[in-house]
Amino acid sequence: MSAGSRTTDDLPPAVWRPGAEGDVLRARAAMLADIRDYFSAVGVLEVETPLACRAAGTDPAIDPLIARYTGPLYPQGVDLYLQTSPEFAMKRLLANGSGPIYQICKAFRDGEAGRLHNPEFSILEWYRPGYTVAGMMTEVAAVVRCALYRRGLEIETQSYAGLFAARFGIDVFAVDAESLRQVAVQHHLSGAEGLKLDRDGWLDLLMSHLIQPALGPGRLCFVTDYPASQAALARRNPDRLTAARFEVFLDGVELANGFDELTDAGEQAARFEAENRERRARGKRPVTVDRQLLAAMQTGLPSCCGVAVGLDRLLMLRQGLDDLDAAMSFSLRRC
């Protein structure tokens, strides 16, 4: 029996006032205008793509919210996934020859709410055909500086493996799950003894609890070359051990995730399948695979880099706030 079958009567009293004060709302408007000015000046096209689609990402660690449509076209009704990022539709535009594009929209993720999470959040996502990871990171820094209104913000770059070597003296490519568990226990990560995690789960634990809080103190920290097992939608690097994926941190907060995008339709299909297998193994519903994306990739997705930035977190840091609720008009607890 679950002790917590909550009814609406148990919910906290309704809070009608917004979390964001007037100055924060004005800063958000200014930040969005600054971002649009930047992309307009460098010739990147603003686009809009659907947020409710018949397919979505299959990442086992990210769960989409599902909406239901019934009416013309689908008289029997159809489940529509609220997109966890606008990635797939934007890649279809790229495959159709759009050239560089960006989008500012909402993204949705089930099961995520907290100081730095809200199930509905604002995302800035953009794609640059022909860019390398290095070139893309330079542009990310430019966009973040512009959005934070901090032109002098300094930058550092660390590799994922380098961070683990420096902090724990381990080789992330050589260690197994048990050794990672021992590292967590040795570093007094309370509760680690009882956790049941796979290798990537232990890496996520060490990264999020012991490394990330100190990343990017007062400066932008790029973490590059994630393990191939955490490639997500990035190309594998020629070393086969790492992926062309980077993340961006400031003051210990994860701000952005970027890829040199996987363009191989066959490998993309295999990753979808493997991730849905993993979802089933974890007792989760598999997600409908995006056949239109696969068809677009078969036609030819240009070699490109893409980045997604969490705009609410960016605004939070710009305003010196420490909870997303204060950066959003109405977070879930006020909806």
Binding site: S2, A61, G114, H117, L195, D204, S208, H209, Q230
Partner: protein, 190 residues
Amino acid sequence: MATYSTSEFRGGLKLLLDGDPCTIIENEFVKPGKGQAFNRVRIRNLKTGRVLEKTFRSGETVEAADVIDRDLQYLYSDGEFWHFMDNESFEQYQADETAMGEAAKWIKDQDSCLVTLWNGAPIVVEAPNFVTLEITETDPGLKGDTSGGGGKPATLETGAVVRVPLFIQTGEKIKVDTRTGAYVSRVKDD
């Protein structure tokens, strides 16, 4: 067996961890954009009072502790146990020295205390924040000294010793803050 999933974690929730009842002080949801989600919680062990941090994998379930807080009236002590009564159900409870902790120094019969019950037995007894107690012994102070500076020790009817201003005399009643053990004021009988 009642359980909670990590999605139900919030301040004040009572869990059973390593056999001890605990209460959540703070719950933080930690999740890399693409990766495993965790709940990092600060917890107070209700038996030892110790505060610890613990990380759970999001989606885990944890056993609930049958812990409730009740206002109970203190009746008497038999030397080994302190006896309390629920004024609504008239049910009686006995608390041992560990559960009493500091509260034993401050309470006298009829006082109402917040008692934490685990599986129906008291594990923590909190004295009221302010109590009024009579002074049974203190050195005679200088007459006319109302400065309060310095002070002197005074023994209260419960046996507790507090520092009081010099003008306070044996037989007087004073108000004490039980959280700090500090003298607050003199209390005149109505």
